[in-house]
Subunit: 221 residues, 2 copies
């Protein structure tokens, strides 16, 4: 056990205590070693699942002793929570960048371009997709992981909502109120389909059908 | 370890050896004790996950010794595979029944009714939903579980496909080819959303939006 006075450890306590939107971070993502541990941990967790991965294995990926990993993260639970937030924030940053590129278009075309960008960002980050599936399962038994997962779902939905809102008034009809939740469910559901059936083309075709339904409906109004 | 000569054990071997559509069953689902073990196991696995659940715990649910569970199932892996197939078959039977009730309607209304029935069947079976999430995670590391999950996905999709086909020629346009995969992704994705965000109403609204998009598109053709 590491007992350094100034150990910048992430712990359940530190995250629970600060429930504001910009919670002060217990670990510093800008610290290159912290970022390296989080990146290696994301890879290991995504590959082997949370329960089968040890802190020693994560250290081994980087040629670090387990005690170094422990210096930054008090427990595997704390590391899991941090990895999830870290991976998802990086993913959301890329999504924001990608959807911003759709802002040249207007109306329904813009919503379509933004949703296409979201799809591509997800395809490009297989570690995040794998980690998501592990999180959905583990969050059923880990309230803190569930709380964080719910917050990140909301963040992703806000990006989708903004992109859809840019399609104009048509997208604001009461009958389309559930669209951001639906689009997110489509993305999550197709990542499962891809994973279980090894069928990226089938998933892509289904996503195109979704965009087609959306386009037809936005046009019809 | 049970060494009875005629032990009706399910094992990885017995299921791997027979890769036909109607694989001879190693365990008899009609045997009341087998059905009771599978039902109890589904409950335990859905609640605690695969790795945290022991055969002893499953036995305890039924007041049976672990050795009795072992008599029917050679290993936890074999039990997991069997529970998944058992739970999902029961679910598909209910779905078939439910979608059959939609057959009085015709055209787009029939597709809608069938998809509503599918939603209700999923809502009514929280054990199956929970088990699904565990399976998606575990299947990433268990090829046999993945193979079975993929087969069951296909079965569910066929039911969806038949329901949609009944909506008439419009549903057969190339632009709607991905519809069964999409509908399944929506159902799976919304079960995750419900689970992570404890939000059945939000999920229901998103599903209604999906049905609305589908209806608008089928009408527009």
């Amino acid at each position: 056990m590491n007992t350094a006075d100034n150990a910048p450890q992430a712990s359940m306590e530190s995250t629970d205590a600060s429930n504001t939107t910009t919670a002060p971070r217990a670990v510093d993502w800008e610290n290159p070693r912290v970022a390296a541990i989080l990146t290696a941990a994301a890879k290991c967790f995504s590959r082997s699942g949370f329960s089968a991965t040890t802190l020693a294995e994560i250290g081994k990926e980087l040629g670090l002793r387990k005690s170094i990993v422990h210096y930054y993260f008090a427990s595997k639970a704390a590391l899991i929570h941090e990895v999830q937030s870290f991976t998802y924030r990086k993913f959301l940053d890329r999504v924001r960048e990608a959807t911003a590129s759709a802002s040249e278009a207007t109306g329904p075309a813009r919503a379509r371009r933004a949703l296409e960008a979201l799809w591509e960002a997800l395809q490009a980050d297989q570690t995040a997709s794998g980690l998501n599936i592990e999180v959905w399962s583990a969050a059923r038994r880990d309230p803190e992981l569930k709380r964080r997962a719910a917050m990140l779902q909301q963040d992703q939905r806000q990006i989708i909502d903004e992109a859809i809102a840019s399609a104009g008034d048509v997208a604001r009809k009461p009958s389309l109120e559930g669209l951001p939740v639906l689009a997110q469910a489509v993305l999550n559901g197709l990542s499962i389909s891809e994973c279980i059936e090894d069928s990226p083309e089938q998933a892509k075709k289904a996503y195109e059908t979704f965009l087609h339904l959306l386009e037809q409906t936005l046009k019809a109004k």
